[in-house]
Symmetry: C2
Subunit: 189 residues, 2 copies
Amino acid sequence: MKEFIEYILQFGNLNQQQLDLISKKATERVLHKDEYFSEAGKIAQEVGFILEGIIRVCYYNNKGEEITKYFIDENNLVVDLESFDNDICSNAYVQAITDCKMLVFSKKDWKDLLDIIIPWEAIVNKIISRALRQKIERRSPLVSEDATTRYLMFLKIYPNVVNRIPLSYIASYLGITQSSLSRIRKNIH
Amino acid sequence: MKEFIEYILQFGNLNQQQLDLISKKATERVLHKDEYFSEAGKIAQEVGFILEGIIRVCYYNNKGEEITKYFIDENNLVVDLESFDNDICSNAYVQAITDCKMLVFSKKDWKDLLDIIIPWEAIVNKIISRALRQKIERRSPLVSEDATTRYLMFLKIYPNVVNRIPLSYIASYLGITQSSLSRIRKNIH
DNA sequence: AATGCTTTTTGTCATTTGACAAATGATTCT
DNA sequence: AGAATCATTTGTCAAATGACAAAAAGCATT
């Protein structure tokens, strides 16, 4: 919980009473490897915060290949925004790729907090828009670089991820095959 | 101006007085082909809205290659958010690729409006976060598809752009060379 | 029409990556 | 330890793309 409070306070100030209100609504939950936090075809009902572990967001393209859109690691929010905000079906799976310890807020509690704690909305907006910008910054350069550069960028962006998850996920994140990734790794070392 | 009002009202309601306040702060400006709306190394000082024309955002990667990050066409906001919001130097060029007719707000006016018109902030947040999400949705799939598919996606996303700008920009957007793009076009037709 | 200028297409060859199959390595379970 | 399972690497060949140069096409100006 401490981690979450610290995280929040990076984006704005709240008094102890407000922080307590928020804390009270959070539930701790363990999500096991391969379990879904939210699924394609369903409406996202929760907001999460990763205390420990790694989650990925993935979907299936029109050829049926599984594509990993991005990874989310410790001390970050997890929510399928498009689906959560607009109550529409998601087209992505949000899946634990290691065992995860999380804080979870139900949609109702999350919305209540936004109504009750006025400055909370501004903070959430900051958090969300920073996260969105970060995603763009991270994904965009992947288009215009060769696979080796992409892999090196991945290592920089997610320094704590590479040894904790299957290479196949990294390959699908980079848009290359597992064997290509394997060859790239061989050439780097 | 009518276009801008319409655009705004998609995201929330404002009364006539509020709309007038906003209108009064907007300046119309023509940006000629190849001119910059904002530049790398400088701090973005304005928010724009494209009435007519096409703008692109580009940067130079570590090999010195020019990479087009995305295109912005009619009836969309133009602002280098990261730079504008945080008063930090941008690392991207925002450049007209056709002659453009725009509405422009100075940073001061833009911020004043946010203070004066309370519901305006929520609307701007919605606009920005929708734009950010759109960017991710558009760029992200480019990573995992082959070049032909990427070109077809480009055509879908920007149906009104392809015949109005040089192919070299499209190639750099797709992360391929001009000659590859040329060959792809040949195979499609 | 002729001239320059820029954009786009082609051609050739080298390199990267994909597809598929097989081999090796790691991990878990009994 | 052995078997089963899954993850990773390697091998081979085909296809896609890049690099570079040259040709062709398009466009504006005269």
